[in-house]
């Protein structure tokens, strides 16, 4: 019995799923994918074409900006975009710092700082989206 339990421990140990790693990797990969697909057009339209007055943009006018921000689907989209992007950035920047020679960034305190930062940005985003413009279905 004892031998069997030892064997079973030995066989199980290497297959233990790295759930924490899976969780951060999921957020990192999806954050990277989503920002790759949608961020350039946001920057181009809202950051360049709009301010240069080449095209009208929804956030150039208070009324239209508030109307769009009141839409629950827009709120959900913005939350997913900003939150996932910051989990992606946190993971990427942590390894960027490691690549620059700071191996302390591999440790738990650094993980708490980087991923904790992404959690803080997520909470701030939720707070801003819920308090800035009320949800409107109209």
């Amino acid at each position: 019995m004892s031998a069997m339990s030892t064997m079973s421990t030995e066989t199980k140990t290497p297959h233990k799923p790295a759930l924490a790693h899976l969780f951060w990797w999921f957020l990192f990969a999806n954050g990277g994918g989503l920002t790759a697909l949608v961020l350039p057009v946001h920057i181009l339209v809202q950051g360049i074409l709009g301010p240069l007055k080449i095209v009208p943009v929804v956030d150039r006018h208070y009324d239209t900006w508030v109307q769009v921000l009141g839409n629950p689907l827009v709120k959900l989209y913005l939350l997913v975009l900003i939150s996932l992007a910051f989990f992606h950035f946190a993971h990427r920047l942590r390894y960027f710092v490691v690549d620059l020679g700071f191996h302390q960034a591999k440790g738990t305190p650094a993980q708490v700082i980087f991923y904790g930062g992404a959690v803080v940005v997520t909470l701030v985003t939720v707070w801003i989206l819920l308090t800035t413009v009320p949800i409107s279905l109209g």
Partner: protein, 118 residues
């Protein structure tokens, strides 16, 4: 290994540049959060950003974001193994699909951002 190891080869510099894209993209999204928050200032106090400095900032962020997108979508053929009816989809088709998806997403978002404006 010295912390400047990545300056030795162009390939390494491009790798680090790609890792660094997260910084300007994060900076621009933080600006975006501020722009959302400013909608709560009320109609009298709301003024959209349009300074030359802001446009230059956006141009720099746009360059980094586009570089990140291009390299990510180009790698999709290597990263993603897609199976369709028992056969592996060729990497070229996966990459082409990802770039098409990028084009469609960009057109839809631009249409919403411009279409709902006045």
């Amino acid at each position: 290994m010295p912390s400047t190891w990545w300056t030795r080869k162009r390939h390494y510099v491009l790798y680090m540049l790609r890792e660094f894209t997260a910084v300007p993209m994060a900076a621009w999204l933080l600006w975006f959060l501020v722009e959302i928050k400013r909608a709560g200032d009320g109609p009298a106090r709301y003024n959209p950003h349009e300074s030359t400095a802001f446009v230059i900032f956006s141009v720099v962020c746009f360059a980094f974001a586009t570089y990140h997108s291009y390299t990510f979508l180009n790698l999709a053929g290597v990263i993603m193994r897609v199976k369709l009816m028992g056969r592996t989809v060729p990497p070229r088709v996966v990459v082409l699909t990802m770039f098409s998806l990028w084009a469609v997403a960009s057109i839809v978002i631009a249409a919403v951002l411009i279409g709902f404006a006045r």
